[in-house]
Subunit: 503 residues, 2 copies
C-alpha cells in the first residue's frame, strides 16, 4: 500500500518522476546568507531584462518568471512548472542536501487564473553579524559574536509576480538588518536597555545608564522583553521591505503586491509573522494550534471603516465608509436599509441618503469580499500603484504592510517527529480546513518511518495534491478543479522535533 | 458550620443584620418598565436639588447621592451605605419579592477614594411595544405584539457619580427604544428584510420587497441575523445614551463618566455588552467562560495611537502618539530609545527627536495605565467635559462609548442551579481572579440547598466580602484594605438555570 501510494505520487510530482530533475546531481543549497542589503535600501529601479544585479544586491533581475531557488529547476523544469493543464506538483529533489530541519515543500501552479505561478517561497539560514564584527574587530571574534536565524517565507502575489519575487529574495535581508543592532542585546540575559547612546559604533557599554539617569515621569517604567525586540524587528523589516518596493515601483519588474507569511526561528523561539490571507498552524500530538490570523476586508472591516471615517478624502466621492448588506439603489432613497459603521458589529436600519448611494468601502462576503471593490486582502507588501478599477483613487492607504507576529517557544514543549508547523497560501486553505490538514498530517506521517527525512516533503505533496482535488482516498484521480483549488498552492512543512531537526 | 458562616455574614451585610432594613416590609419591586424616553431624548439640563422630574422622565433629579432602587434603602440605610469606615455590604432585603431570576446582588462603598459610592446598578424587566400598539391598535393586541427583555446593568462611575446614576436610570430605556422598530422583525422567523419602507407607520408588510426589487450590484447579498439586529440595537442605545449625557452636560447633576456592563436577555439569548473595565464571566459546571473584555489604555493602545496619528490636532502640542517605556528626558535628545507606534506590538529603538519629549498619549502599566495622563479606561459613557489635567485639551475624542457585545445562547446548554453569570465592577476583579470567583461560586452554592433562592445573594455577598479582604477561610476577619480592594465593588449573580430562573 505504502509503495503504491509512493508510486502514484511519483507520477504527479516533479522532483521524483521527472527526468532531468529527479536524477540531477544535487546543487548546493542556499548557504548562510551574509550579504547585507544597503543600510536603508535605496537601489534605483531595475529595468527588466537588463541582466545586471541591482546595486547593493537588492533586486536581482531574472528577466522572466522564476521559481524558488531551492527547487533547483532546470529551464525545462521551470517550463513544466508553468504547465497549467498538467499542474504538476513541484518539490525540492529527493537527493543530496535537504532543506534545513528536513523541511518539506510542495507547490503547484493555478489552473489558468494568471499566466505564471504568482506564489514564491524562500528558505534560508541567515547569519547576523554582531557589532564588533561590523566595526572591523579581530577576525576570530566574528563568529562568536553573531547570531543565526532560520527563515521560511511564503509570498502569495497578486496583480503580477514581481512583488512576491522581490520579497522572497529580500525580506530576510531586511529582517537581518533590523536584528543587526540587537545582537549583543539579545545575547545578554539582562533586560534590554531602554535607552542607548546615540552612536551605535561608539564603544559605550550597552549596560551603562543613559547620561543623567532615567528619571522617569511616571513611577513604573515598562520592562521590554527580548522577544518583543525580535517582534519589533520583524514588524519594521516588513515596513522597510514595503518602502523598498515603493522605490522600485516604476520598474516593470516590481508590479503588484504579495501577502507574506514568514517564520523566523531565533534563540529557541519561532516567530510567525503574517500579513495577508495565508495561514500557519501547528499540529502537535494531533492538536491544532493556530499560529496566524487572516487579514481580509471582513476581518479588518472596522479598521478600514475607521480610516475612511477619519480621512474621508481617501474615499474620493466614490465610496462610503458605511457597510450595507447589498448595494443601495437610487430608487431606494428615503427608505430604511440595514447598515453598520466603524464602531458596530451588529446591524441597524438607517434612512438612505444621497451619499449612501456611493459604493461601500467594504463589500461582499468570504472570498468575494473586497476593499474598494478591488482587492480581497487588506495586508500585503507592495501595491503602491494599485488603483480602484476605472478610477485614479489609490487603494494603498487602506492596505497595511504590518504583519501580526505570533510567538511559539519551542523549548516549552517536548516534540515528537510528527509535530509540524504547516505554512500554506490561501490556495490550500480555501479547500482544506485545519482539521483536513491535521488528518493528512496523521495519515501521511504515520505511513513513513519517523526517521525518514523525505516524509515532510511527502506530506507537503499530499497536502498540495489534496487541495488540487486529488487524494489518496480517491485513488489519486486525475485532477478535477471543481473539486479542489484552482489557485496557486504553496506549502511548507516544518518539523518541530525528531531526527534532522534543529540543524 | 453552615450556620456559623451565615451568622458571621449577617454581621457584615446590611439587609440581614441591620435593624430597620432587614425587618422592613418588602416594598414593591420595580415592575415592568413601560415609560418611554423621548424619541430622541432632548430633555433640558436638570438643576441639582430642583426636585422636579426632568421632561420626558429622562433625568430624575434625586438631589443627592442615591443607591439602586431595588436595595430599598431607607434614608438611614443610605447613610449606612455611605459609611467608609465600616464598609457594610449592601444587598436587597431577604424578604418578599426577589429580583427576577432570583438574581443575587451585593455592593460596598470604597475606602475613602471618593465621597460617595460611584457604582450604580439596575435590574429591570422591560416591555417593548409592537408597532401596532404604538399606532393605537386595539387594546387587546398590545400584549400579544410586544416583547419583554430582562436587563441587568452595572455602572462604575468616575470623576463623580452623575453619569453612572443617569445611565442606571435610562440606558435600558434607550435599549427599548432601539428595539421598538424591530419587534415584528424579531418575532418573524424569516431573515430580517434588508430594506424597509420609509415610514415605519405605513401599513406595508415588512416582508414585501423594496419597490423595484433589490438589484444588488454584487452577486451575493449578506444575510443579517436577528441576533445581529439586537447587537446593533444595544450598540446604538449606548451611543444615544452618550449623546443624551452630552446634552445634559451643563448640569451639575451629570458629571463625570461611567463604565457600563449590561446584560439583556431576549428571546433565549443573553447579550452581554461591556464598555469599560468591568467584567462578566459565566461559571458553568465549574468551567469559566469569559463574557467580556476590558477596555483600557493597554488593551486599546493601538486604536488610540492610530487616532492620534491620523488626527494629530487632537494631541495638541502636548502629546505624542508614540509609546515609550518611560518618559523621555530632554537630555536624551539624539540618543536611541525603545518605542512603538500604532502598527507595532513589538518594540524597536529610535533616535529621540524634539517631539518625542511630549507626553506619550498612552503611558503606564496595569491599573496605572492612562490615556493622556488622565484616565484609566478607554470606553465609557459621559466624560464630555473631561480635560487633560492642567490643560484645556479634551480627552473625550479618544474615549469610545461603544460596547463590545458577546452573545450566549441559553437554549444551547442544559444548566444546573449552580451555573451562574457573574457581573462585577473592577473593584472585584482587581483583587479576585476568575478562578478565585469560580472557587467561591462552588464553595458558597454547595453550602446552600439548590432550591434556596437566597443562595445567589449569599454568593454575591461572599464575592464582595472576599474582594474587600474578608473571607470565610480567614474566619471573617475585620476589614484590612491592604488585603482587599479599597474600591467600590458591585456584583450581580445571575443564575442560568434551576428553580426560580427565567421568570
Amino acid at each position: 500500500m505504502l509503495n503504491r501510494v509512493r508510486s502514484a505520487v511519483a507520477h504527479l510530482v516533479s522532483s521524483r518522476g521527472s527526468p532531468g530533475s529527479g536524477t540531477r546531481e544535487c546543487p548546493t543549497l542556499a548557504s548562510p546568507d551574509s550579504t547585507a542589503p544597503q543600510g536603508t535600501p535605496r537601489s534605483p529601479p531595475v529595468r527588466p531584462d537588463s541582466g545586471s544585479k541591482a546595486p547593493g544586491g537588492a533586486v536581482e533581475n531574472r528577466g522572466s518568471f522564476s521559481r524558488p531557488t531551492f527547487l533547483q529547476l532546470s529551464p525545462e523544469g521551470v517550463r513544466r512548472a508553468e504547465d497549467q493543464a498538467g499542474r504538476v506538483v513541484q518539490s525540492p529533489p529527493d537527493t543530496g542536501r535537504r532543506l534545513p530541519w528536513s523541511t518539506g515543500y510542495a507547490e503547484v501552479i493555478n489552473a489558468g487564473k494568471s499566466r505564471h505561478n504568482e506564489d514564491q517561497a524562500s528558505c534560508e539560514v541567515v547569519y547576523v553579524e554582531g557589532r564588533q564584527a561590523r566595526m572591523g574587530g579581530p577576525e576570530k571574534s566574528i563568529k562568536d559574536q553573531g547570531l543565526y536565524f532560520h527563515y521560511w517565507g511564503l509570498f502569495d502575489g497578486h496583480a503580477g509576480g514581481g512583488a512576491a519575487e522581490m520579497a522572497s529574495r529580500l525580506l530576510h535581508r531586511h529582517i537581518r538588518e533590523q536584528l543587526q543592532g540587537l545582537v549583543e542585546i539579545l545575547q545578554d540575559p539582562a533586560p534590554p536597555p531602554l535607552c542607548l547612546p546615540s552612536t551605535t559604533r561608539a564603544s559605550v557599554s550597552l549596560d551603562s545608564p543613559c547620561p543623567g539617569g532615567p528619571q522617569p515621569c511616571w513611577p513604573l517604567q515598562k520592562e521590554v522583553t527580548h522577544e518583543s525586540l525580535v517582534v519589533g524587528a520583524i514588524e519594521n523589516a516588513f515596513q522597510f521591505m514595503d518602502a523598498h518596493m515603493a522605490r522600485e515601483q516604476r520598474s516593470q519588474y516590481v508590479v503588484g503586491g504579495c501577502c507574506a507569511l514568514v517564520v523566523v526561528y531565533l534563540l529557541g523561539k519561532m516567530y510567525v509573522a503574517n500579513a495577508g490571507d495565508s495561514r500557519a498552524i501547528i499540529v502537535r500530538n494531533g492538536d491544532i494550534i493556530p499560529m496566524s490570523r487572516e487579514f481580509t476586508p471582513e476581518t479588518e472591516r472596522q479598521r478600514l471603516q475607521l480610516l475612511g471615517f477619519l480621512k474621508p478624502e481617501l474615499l474620493g466621492n466614490e465610496f462610503t465608509h458605511l457597510e450595507f448588506p447589498r448595494r443601495v439603489q437610487p430608487k431606494e432613497l428615503g427608505q430604511r436599509m440595514l447598515y453598520r459603521d466603524q464602531s458596530m458589529t451588529g446591524w441597524a436600519y438607517k434612512k438612505i441618503e444621497l451619499e449612501d448611494l456611493r459604493c461601500p468601502l467594504v463589500c461582499g462576503e468570504g472570498k468575494k469580499a473586497r476593499v474598494m471593490a478591488t482587492i480581497g486582502v487588506t495586508r500585503a507588501l507592495g501595491d503602491h500603484n494599485l488603483k480602484v478599477c476605472s478610477s485614479t483613487l489609490p487603494v494603498k492607504p487602506f492596505l497595511s504592510c504590518f504583519p501580526e507576529v505570533q510567538v511559539y517557544d519551542l523549548t516549552q514543549y517536548e516534540h515528537c517527529p510528527d509535530d509540524v508547523l504547516i505554512l500554506g497560501t490561501d490556495g490550500l486553505w480555501d479547500v482544506s480546513s485545519d482539521k483536513d490538514v491535521a488528518a493528512t498530517v496523521d495519515k501521511v506521517l504515520s505511513s513513513y518511518e519517523p526517521n525518514d527525512p523525505s516524509r515532510y516533503t511527502a506530506l507537503a505533496q499530499a497536502l498540495v495534491l489534496g487541495a488540487r482535488g486529488i487524494s489518496r482516498e480517491q485513488g489519486w484521480r486525475l485532477p478535477n478543479n471543481k473539486m479542489g483549488s484552482g489557485d496557486d498552492i504553496s506549502v511548507f512543512v516544518i518539523p518541530l522535533g525528531g531526527p534532522g531537526s534543529y540543524t
